[in-house]
Every structure is written in C-alpha cells, then in structure tokens.
Symmetry: C2
Subunit: 150 residues, 2 copies
Amino acid sequence: MSETIGFLLNDTARLFRRAFNARTKHSGITALQWRLISYLKRHEGIRQGPLAELIEVEPITLSRMVDRLVEAELVERRADPTDRRAWRLYLTPRTGAIVGGMRDIADALTEEATEGLSAAERAQLIELVERVRANLSRRECGKEPTKETM
Amino acid sequence: MSETIGFLLNDTARLFRRAFNARTKHSGITALQWRLISYLKRHEGIRQGPLAELIEVEPITLSRMVDRLVEAELVERRADPTDRRAWRLYLTPRTGAIVGGMRDIADALTEEATEGLSAAERAQLIELVERVRANLSRRECGKEPTKETM
DNA sequence: GCGATATAATAGCAACTGCTATAATATTCA
DNA sequence: TGAATATTATAGCAGTTGCTATTATATCGC
C-alpha cells in the first residue's frame, strides 16, 4: 500500500512510453527522443549541460541520446565558440519534416490516455503530479551541493 | 502542452526511481527489484508469465529481473511439476531480512514525495493516475479486460 | 604565469525496457 | 497418433538511465 504512488507512476509512465513507441515505430523516433527534440525546438543553441538539467536527466544520459540523434541526422552538434569543452545543439532541417506527425501522435495519445477525465480533472492531475515532481526535484538539489563535506 | 502529461509522468517516475535507488544503494536492491519482490511476497509460487502480466512488463523483462534476483539469492526458481516449460517463483529466507528496511524507505519516500498534499489530494492523485493507467492498459490488450483492481 | 579547483562532456559498467525471433513443451484437432 | 497451434520462457539487439571515473578545458587564487 505504502508505495503505491511510486509504482503507479512508474507503471503509467511505462505504458505511455510503450504506446507512443508502438505508434512511432515506423519513424524510428522514440518517446524520449521526441521529448528531447521538442525541448530543443524551444531552446536551439543550448549546451548539453543546461539541456540535461532542463529535462532532468544526467549529462551522460543526454550525451548518449544526442549521439543517437546525431547519428540519425536529427540533431547537430556545433562547437561553442566561447568554450572549447562545450557543444551547442541544433535541429537539422530533417527534423522539421517529422515534427508535425509526431505532434499529432502525441496529441492523440494524450487524448486517449485521459479519456473519461473532465477538463477539470485533467488540470488537477497535472497540478498534483507537478507538485510531487517538485517535491522529488527539490530533494535532489537540496542534497547535491555538499557532498564530501562530511 | 499537448503531451505534457506523458512527459510529466515520465519525469516524475524517473525522479522517484532515482530517489529510491539513492537511498537503497547500500542494499544493492533497486526500486524495480523491490517492486517485483513486493508483488512476489503476495503471490509466492506464481509463474513468470502471470507475474509479468501482473506488473505489466514483458515476459522477457521479467525473466531478466528474475535472473538478477536469483543471482543475488533473493528469489528462487523451482520447476513447475505440471509444466516443464514453466518456473514457479519463491522468495528466499534472505529476502525477509531486508524487506522491512526497504518498506521503511519506501514509506518515507512516499511521504516526502507527497509532502504538502492533503489526504484527499493524495487519494485523488492516485485515482486519476489509475484511470490514465487503465486507459493505456486497456488500449494495449484490446481483448483482455481483466483489470479487477480497484 | 602557475597550480588548484571547477566545469563540460564522455567512457565503463550495470540495470531496466521492449521488439522480434527461437527453443522447448503443452494442447488441440483431425 | 501425429500435425498444427498455442504457451512458457529465453536470446539477440537496441534504447534509456544513473553511478563512478576520466579527459579536456576554463577559471580562480596566489
């Protein structure tokens, strides 16, 4: 009983990913790649570190996702002119061609997933989950800054 | 906007896993292994197939999780006397020793994750997410409406 | 300038996840 | 009985995720 919420969120998220992936198999783009792309669309030129922070994954996780997207010619790494350690990320023209279809699929899936929920319930769902996320997110940061200070 | 719920659920679930894993690193048991164990506790002797269906993962996913748990001597595979293809799963004595600690951690984490939510809000959160999960779950099978939970 | 420290990204390792395919066994039906 | 079909579990492959290093570069303190 106790950890129901954690399990439940995990299950639901997994089913969401699975449903999305099943619908986009043909395009070769996964749910999580789509997520990265749709963030990147609004932040072109961002560096990997800040993007990782934005979508709250570890830098190495992002790095590997970018590897695959570069391989698929959907994302482009350009050297940062002011910092030779860093990359700046851009979408390629090829991305534009598929974003529309992805968005339609995502919209349809969201609709299906929330079928039977009123507008008010959907809003409340988002609000409640966001509060949980904020709780968990805050907790991560609050412990990071001091690590070896014993 | 469109797919916010999907992204949001995914993020929150990931943060949940991460927080859990950070707290149980010492035990070597991950959030998802704990989940499997806690289901198994209530269904000892179950076969892999039905357990996979219960926790809604693919059989092969479950198979590999069981591999690791067997390796860690937390789960035991015993041949099914009536079907030589099948295994029946049991917890080992070693499992009992760690379940208590895990449950405390899970409880504490759930509490932290839902901090600031009233009892009514927690209940509503669970109810709403469950409805989303049911929508997605139903859509996967399309034929087996065997969702008796709730 | 130079050494210490911090930051950006990546490598190795391991766990979770699912798709497609396959092996072994069971069941069904002709 | 024997062939066709279904079920149970696993193998190969690939993507996601994070932990702990490591490399390369930048910045800070002296």
